[in-house]
Amino acid sequence: MLQVQNIEKYYGSKNNVTKALDRVSFDVEAGEFLAIMGASGSGKTTLLNCISTIDTVSAGKILLDGVSIADLGEEELAKFRRERLGFVFQDFNLLDTLTVEENIGLALSLNHMDPKTVQDRVRNVAGKLGIADILPIFPYQISGGQKQRTACARAMVAGQSLLLADEPTGALDSKASKNLLEIMTAMNRDMGATILMVTHDAYSASYAKRVLFLKDGRVFNELLRGERGRSVFYHEILDVLAALGGDVSDVI
């Protein structure tokens, strides 16, 4: 579904170039739940920003269903974001002036979808995510966990095929985090959503089916969960992270 081919990203001016991503390549299959881990400054958010079209790559290609996102014009990009991508950020990025319901349905409504269909879709997804009873109220009146579930609902209400999450549990307490991760797992398992989640938290990553580790802008390890239980996978992740903190040659 998603192919990331040798992408590079540089920041800075002529005399002071920072290489945020260095020849990163990987594929994501439809229906996968992939976590990208790494320390602060490892390039994981930059990678997510490039995939989500928030940022552009300096070299390499990102293909979604065989289409290079760099080749899309403004209109096509907007349509692409609207129909194919869903976003969940650490700080929710909900619009304060809109109710929960309006936040979820805004993109559909602005694109002239039939109001009845919008309403049905919003109610449907809100029911699945357990936020149907907070639909008429404003974001400042709900908890962090509910905000994040609202963001998830917004990210999938249009039937988006790829959900991109940047530290989705970063601003939540442990109970709300667990709740959100279980919802994301259900979205992946029951609704077939493909999820790409960036996190530095091993517990969150253990919910994924596969974990990619980034260090200094490069993919340096990959873990597959396979048939193992979540807690075993969690400990394996911790082991890789311990190695990640030391010399790379200790791990490979």
Binding site: N49, S52, T53, I54, D55, T56, E74, E75, A78, K79, R81, R82, E83, F87, N93, L95, D96, T97, L98, T99, E101, E102, G105, L106, A107, S109, L110, N111, P115, K116, V118, Q119, V122, R123, A132, D133, L135, P136, R154, A158
Partner: protein, 660 residues
């Protein structure tokens, strides 16, 4: 559980814009109120442009529409800058939100339209409210004008469609410019820029200490040079002075603002003294990145003070000159001996009912001893007489009575001096006797009421010696004069006829040696009113627009930090800071922040206004128009408006930040 409402699911761009506009008006209330005031100001002055009754107040008022439209053009530029700045500022504050719209699938074009529509809605609402408020403001202007012309005023509230149309036209210009700019910005912005725009700031312009110190020194020198050049009196040199001052302000703020952190870094003892660290860090974070904005604000401050001060100087000149001339309902003087006042008196007898009048002569003494003395004591004096002017006691007594002054006594063998206020002190010290023919007179009292003493054929120029009638016999006559108290104010048309007689007499060689001069109380009042309306009104209009603009920008900047301040003070409270201490720290931050851009303008404007108020001839700028009063008044007026904004910002910030 309440179910989603059907209608909310049809959120359109315009509905969303309206909702955002409401929030914008609430979050940026000070800005919104200023835009309402801007509309009100523009409408009220446009009201003057289109008012037929205002134009008919006097012939001179025909100039008013032209002058007001010119001033409005400048005011539109000022408000245009304010709206453009505030819109850009809000864009940067809300870029993350706008980025979210793009993220969920809106095109940049749609987001730009959304932003455009909501700002248009805010502008539209401000315009409607402003028109209502402007109607009241127009009535105030009208009442002031009517009072200046001495006419009765009746309250009449009505919408002037041409004035509203012109205000709408100005608003369209203001908003199209500002929104066109932000529209372009949003459309060009990458989604990354939008989401992370609020993290960007104006970079500190001057980074090295050496350059900063050099720039600081040069800017101070340029500031002093600019102020001196501005008061030099020549237009070209004045323009050079203004250039120096602009460069000085930019140099000062760029070097000073980025130098504040460096100053404290090098002096840790000062940094950790009391609340300095807290106040300095909060200010430094703003100042280091606001050098350019502060310089522009300071420049506008300077312009405001100069405009306001100049308005007061002009006002002082008009009133000061008129007060001296307006002491008689009707006065005329004809230069030369044996003049015939016949044509004047004939017209007056036939057309102007007179209650009391006096026809008299102004004589010249045998010497210029008093004039020589006055010249030696004052810097400036007009020499209209080659000898001291003299007036008979009986004429003087009649003149006092006609003007409504209390009667005075003159002892035998003495002479009195009647002079303008500014000569009271030197002439009070004059104790020399005067000799007229074979009569010697010793000095008596000095009187200073207005007595038409500021022109060539008046009752002396600045002063006159009042002598017993018999002492004046045989003295040379300088001119003939007439003063009267009329039953009705002399109309503009009657004044014009008398002036025509004076001109005709001169042209027909009836009075070739000199000229006739006519003045009436009503005409002087009308002249003051016309001059005030056409020059002082526009100046205050400009000054008001300028001061509102800068105060709003500073306040928007300050209030946008409310949330940050709130978090900071919650943390400080947890760290053990007392509420009283926090209040003091907030107060100090506020005082410094608002004082910073106001200090250089005060230093520039004070000497300039002092200088300007000293330029008119002596005797005019006295009392409330004296140089010190002009400076004090213009500063008070400015700081009154500035103070309102500071108080609003401080109260709002204190309420949100220092929560109980």
């Amino acid at each position: 559980m309440s179910l989603p409402r059907w209608e909310v699911m049809s959120v359109t761009l315009s509905k969303l814009s309206l909702r955002n506009a409401r929030r914008q008006a609430r979050d940026y209330l000070v800005y919104f109120v200023t835009v309402v005031m801007a509309a009100a100001l523009l409408y009220s002055f446009n009201g003057l442009v289109f008012s037929g009754e205002v134009r008919q107040l006097s012939e001179g008022m025909h100039m008013l529409p032209f002058v007001i439209v010119l001033a409005s053009a400048v005011v539109v530029c000022i408000f245009g800058w304010l709206v453009s700045y505030a819109t850009g500022f809000m864009l940067s504050r809300r870029s993350r939100e706008l980025g979210t719209y793009v993220l969920i699938g809106l095109t940049n074009r749609q987001v730009a339209r959304l932003f455009f529509l909501e700002n248009l809605a805010v502008g539209g609402a401000a315009l409607v409210l402003g028109l209502a408020l402007g109607g009241l403001l127009y009535q105030i202007l009208r009442a002031i004008l009517f009072a200046m012309f001495g006419l009765p005023y009746h309250f009449e509230m009505a919408l002037s469609f041409p004035a509203a149309g012109l205000t709408l036209f100005y608003f369209v210009l203001i908003y199209l410019h500002a929104l066109g700019k932000s529209r372009k910005r949003v459309r060009k912005m990458k989604i990354w820029d939008l989401i992370y725009f609020d993290r960007q700031n104006e970079g500190a312009a001057i980074r090295t200490g050496k350059l900063r110190r050099w720039m600081f020194g040069v800017s101070i020198l340029l500031g002093v040079a600019g102020t001196v050049l501005l008061t030099a009196g020549s237009l070209m040199i004045g323009i050079m002075g203004a250039g120096c001052l602009i460069a000085a302000l930019f140099g000062f703020f760029l070097s000073f603002a980025s130098g504040v952190p460096a100053f404290f870094e090098k002096r840790p003892a000062r940094k950790y003294q009391g609340q300095t660290l807290l106040v300095f860090r909060t200010l430094a974070s703003k100042l280091a990145t606001m050098g350019m904005v502060m310089a522009v604000i300071s420049m506008i401050f300077t312009a405001t003070l100069l405009t306001e001060g100049s308005g007061l100087v002009f006002n002082g000149i008009f009133r000061g000159r008129a007060a001296e001339n307006a002491c008689y309902d009707l006065y005329f003087g004809i230069e030369g001996e044996d003049q015939d006042p016949g044509p004047y008196l004939e017209y007056i007898d036939g057309n102007i009912p007179v209650e009391q009048s006096v026809l008299y002569q102004i004589y010249l003494s045998d010497s210029s001893q008093v004039q020589d003395y006055v010249s030696s004591r004052t810097v400036y004096y007009y020499y209209n007489y080659d000898r001291d002017p003299v007036l008979c006691w009986s004429d003087y007594a009649a003149l006092r009575q006609i003007a409504g002054y209390p009667p005075v006594e003159m002892e035998p063998g003495r002479y009195l001096i009647h002079c303008m206020t500014y000569l009271e002190e030197p002439l009070g010290d004059y104790h020399q006797p005067i000799v007229l023919g074979n009569v010697t007179l010793t000095p008596g009292n000095v009187y200073t009421e207005h007595l038409s003493q500021s022109f060539g054929v008046g009752n002396g120029r600045g002063y006159i010696l009042v002598v017993p009638d018999e002492a004046a016999a045989g003295l040379a006559v300088h001119h003939l004069a007439y003063a009267a108290k009329t039953l009705q104010p002399v109309s503009e048309q009657q004044y014009n006829v008398l002036n025509d007689i004076a001109a005709m007499e001169h042209d027909n060689q009836v009075n070739p040696s000199g000229y006739g001069f006519v003045s009436t109380k009503a005409n002087e009042a009308a002249q003051v009113a016309v001059q005030t309306a056409t020059s002082v009104f526009p100046m205050f209009y400009l000054a008001l627009a300028l001061s509102m603009t800068v105060a709003t920008i500073l306040t928007i900047q300050q209030l946008s930090e409310t949330e940050r301040y709130r978090r900071q003070f919650i943390l400080l409270r947890k760290l053990g800071m007392a509420r009283q201490e926090m209040k003091r720290a907030l107060g100090r931050q506020f005082a410094l922040y608002y004082a910073m851009p106001a200090v250089p303008p005060v230093l520039i404007a004070a000497p300039f206004l002092f200088h300007m108020a000293r330029l008119p001839e002596p005797g005019v700028m006295v009392g409330m128009s004296s140089p010190a009063a002009i400076v004090a008044l213009s500063f008070s007026l400015f700081f009154l408006i500035y103070g309102i904004y500071i108080l609003l910002a401080y109260t709002s910030l204190r309420r949100s930040v220092l929560v109980e």
